[in-house]
């Protein structure tokens, strides 16, 4: 453990030193300071009527989110983080594999230990829970619960006797905790309906404390912080017995490091995900490789057109061609608005506002997914894009042609379903689709500008902030145009002006991107 402690210490010190040299750290600190200050100023509202049950409810709610899911990830051999540097230096070294896994687990605890201390302080100062009770809770959480989870992590992750099948069974047993919780909530609803008693029944009742492992934790929390009952005493005894058994098993377990093979795969996947994230692409599911079938395209033209056909070929090889989850969400959003309009069609107030819901939904979805970029961004990172002998404008247009077509189709999916009940004219439907294409297009060209002009100068976060700012202004201009059009004439002019202003704004970024599309900055 000496070497591992050294590793942790030096990495932490060097990271802090490096962070202090970056101006962005001070901006973050300023934000955190402001946030804490605001929180301190508003905290008295929450604690005006301190309630012990509310505090226990908070603890149990946090446990619901953490404990079963943590166990599932350990059973899947994914909960602990290993990097390729660990595979290189740590795994072949004479540090025992069980020590390696314990170290990996301990690294995940720091943030949780801080949360625990915050909970203790909040419990004492905010909820006026006696100090001795909160200290007992602190000792229990850090001393017992973390040790128990660590022991379970060691067994589930590193046991060489557990087969894949038994791991899968454990995984489903952990999921069944959620099933039990849903069942308890349902029973509560049947008994008390939508009332505060249901919450009490769910969080503080006996049933939750009878769920094995997770419920026993809830029982201990109730025993420590509320009052002793037969159920929570039995639950606490079960917890302690379980603790002793699991801790002993983990300590005695033989492990030569067979889990390294899965950890190696995890490290590879993680590293790949990190690389993608650095380039501004969010990774939905780590370790999932894209599947491609076979396809052909009729290549036409030369130069930058090759970029278009290369993308087309790649899309043709994928299962759903250019259709993706985003389009499904837009379609469902449109259907929802359409259904609402069907039921609320007699309400003139709703119907006057309804046609604007669609562009708002489109803009909102584009905005919240601002950090996610599509396949086309790989073109910006490829040196071949810049080496192809063609004009910068042609290259930019070819690279972004398919994304723009995709966005127009997505816009139509957003505009058409709702139009049946909203009774919007075909021209408004088309303008709605174009408005979506323009907002999404602004995101595309904003990203292109960020990539070719800014590169890594302000880091990934800074670049994403820049892109969001570009997008915000686009939406701002669009809304301005819509208001103006509505004021002057009506809905059609509102959409027309909205689209024209957004087109003009987006064109600025097309020009900036084109002027700088000669070199690879990122």
């Amino acid at each position: 453990m000496n070497a591992l402690f050294y590793l942790w210490k030096r990495r932490t010190i060097n990271k802090i030193k490096k962070s202090l040299k970056k101006p962005v750290t001070y901006i973050y600190l300023l934000f955190i300071g402001f946030y804490v200050f605001s929180l301190m100023n508003s905290v008295h509202i929450f604690f005006a009527n301190p309630d012990m049950n509310a505090f226990v409810l908070l603890l149990v709610a946090a446990a619901i989110f953490m404990i079963p899911l943590n166990l599932v990830t350990y059973a899947k051999r994914k909960g602990l983080m290993f990097r390729n540097s660990d595979v290189h230096f740590l795994f072949p070294s004479p540090i025992m594999p069980k020590t390696v896994i314990t170290f990996a687990f301990l690294q995940t605890l720091l943030a949780r230990a801080i949360f625990c201390v915050v909970f203790v302080i909040v419990g004492i100062l905010g909820f006026h829970i006696p100090v001795w009770r909160m200290l007992l809770y602190g000792v229990f959480s850090i001393g017992f619960q973390f040790t128990l989870e660590g022991s379970l992590a060691v067994i589930l992750y590193a046991s060489e006797k557990l087969t894949d099948k038994s791991r899968s069974v454990i995984k489903w047993l952990c999921y069944s905790i959620y099933a039990a919780l849903v069942l308890i909530a349902f029973v509560g609803y049947l008994k008390y309906g939508l009332a505060a008693e249901t919450m009490n029944f769910f969080f503080h009742g006996d049933l939750i404390q009878c769920i094995p492992v997770f419920g026993w934790y809830v029982a201990v929390v109730h025993l420590l912080l509320v009052k002793p009952t037969v159920v929570n005493i039995i639950g606490t005894v079960c917890y302690l017995v379980f603790f002793v058994v699991i801790f002993t098993l983990a300590k005695r377990m033989h492990c030569v490091g067979e889990y390294y093979e899965d950890a190696l795969k995890f490290a590879d996947d993680y590293e790949e995900a990190m690389q993608k994230q650095k380039k501004g692409n969010t990774v939905m599911q780590m370790g999932k490789k894209a599947k491609y079938g076979t396809a052909q395209v009729a290549w036409k033209g030369t130069g930058a057109k090759a970029l278009f056909y290369r993308q087309l070929l790649e899309y043709k090889k994928t299962k759903f061609f250019i259709f993706d989850l985003n389009m499904v969400i837009l379609f469902l959003a449109s259907v929802t608005v359409g259904v609402l309009a069907y039921f609320e069609g007699s309400d003139p107030e709703f119907m006057s506002f309804a046609p604007y819901i669609l562009p708002i939904v489109g803009a909102y979805l584009t905005f919240i997914m601002a950090a996610i970029n599509g396949k086309w961004t790989t073109e910006l990172n490829s040196p071949y894009t810049y080496l192809i002998p063609d004009s910068a404008f042609n290259k930019l247009m070819s690279v972004t042609m398919i994304p723009n077509i995709k966005n127009l189709i997505a816009g139509l999916l957003l505009a058409i379903p709702a139009s049946f009940t909203l009774k919007t004219s075909p021209i408004v439907v088309l303008l709605t689709a174009i408005s979506y294409m323009l907002v999404a297009g602004c995101k595309i060209y904003g990203h292109a500008v960020a990539e070719v002009l800014i590169g890594d100068a302000i880091g990934v976060f800074g670049r994403q902030m820049f892109e969001m700012m570009v997008l915000s202004f686009c939406i701002f201009f669009g809304v301005g145009g819509a208001f103006l059009g509505l004021y002057v004439s009506g809905i059609t002019l509102a959409y027309l002006l909205m689209d024209i202003l957004m087109l003009l704004y987006t064109s600025i970024f097309v020009v900036i991107a084109t002027l700088n599309f000669y070199h690879q900055e990122a």
């Binding site: 070497a3 030096r10 990495r11 060097n14 540097s85 290189h88 230096f89 072949p92 070294s93 390294y260």
Partner: protein
């Protein structure tokens, strides 16, 4: 001594190594040769304890996964991965602590000087070029004074000076009784170093060649013959067939 005994490794239904067996005696340099996809990396990773496998691997007479074996074993992977926030010097410090070896500062400095890292000691892992990372990786392996060392494509990314130095180091290790196993594609790079060569393809060892038995036969020619990459493929000459 490094012994690989009937090692079999499957990835799903794919058999990456099939009953692979070979041994590199003390004080000898073994070369694991094979075309892409031959199964070399699988064998190397199995020896380094990174993969599950069937069979047995022994390092200095002890099971490869035992503490005692790992204490005397060093590994230089094909792709070096540094800890981003550890300096070059701290990597060495970490490794000496992990292996529980006492190393004098002069030794560390001499090693750094040999691989031209003496002015890079305070650089962080993520500030190094690939070649520099490879040099740090080699230094980390050498600093523990191993009895068995495994080098996977060690020359890739190194500058000519470092390649020359590494070759000298390998010969010094051999002369001091250390067992060296090098996995490589680059026949030219190892032609002055090897004592025994294992040619591998499609998960099998096709032939084992001992330098002193080969007389004046060219290793490159033999490699192409045994892997069937020339028209006149033949049985391995002067080989101890597996």
């Amino acid at each position: 001594m490094l012994e690989v005994i009937k090692v079999t490794k499957k990835y799903g239904k794919t058999l990456a190594a099939d009953n692979v067996g070979f041994a590199v005696p003390d004080g000898k340099v073994g070369i694991l040769l094979g075309p892409n996809g031959a199964g070399k990396s699988t064998v190397i990773k199995s020896i380094a304890g990174l993969l599950k496998y069937k069979g047995e691997i022994r390092v200095d007479g002890k099971p490869a996964r035992s503490y005692e074996a790992k204490k005397v074993f060093a590994y230089v992977p094909e792709l070096p991965f540094m800890y981003d926030s550890l300096t070059v010097r701290e990597h060495i410090e970490f490794i000496t602590r992990a292996y529980g070896v006492k190393v004098e500062e002069e030794e560390v400095q001499a090693l750094f000087k040999r691989f031209e890292l003496d002015d890079k000691q305070d650089k962080l892992g993520n500030e190094l070029s690939k070649g520099m990372m490879q040099k740090v990786s080699i230094c980390c392996a050498l600093i523990v004074k191993p009895k068995v060392i495994l080098l996977d494509e060690p020359m890739v990314g190194l500058d000519p000076m470092a390649i020359k130095e590494l070759k000298t180091v390998i010969l010094e290790l051999r002369d001091s009784g250390c067992t060296v196993l090098i996995s490589t594609h680059m026949l030219d790079m190892v032609k002055d170093l090897w004592d025994v060569t294992f040619v591998m393809d499609k998960g099998h060892i096709l032939g084992t060649y001992v330098k002193e038995n080969l007389e004046d036969k060219d290793l490159e020619e033999l490699f192409f013959k045994v892997t069937g990459q020339t028209e006149d493929s033949a049985e391995p000459a002067a080989a101890e067939e597996e």
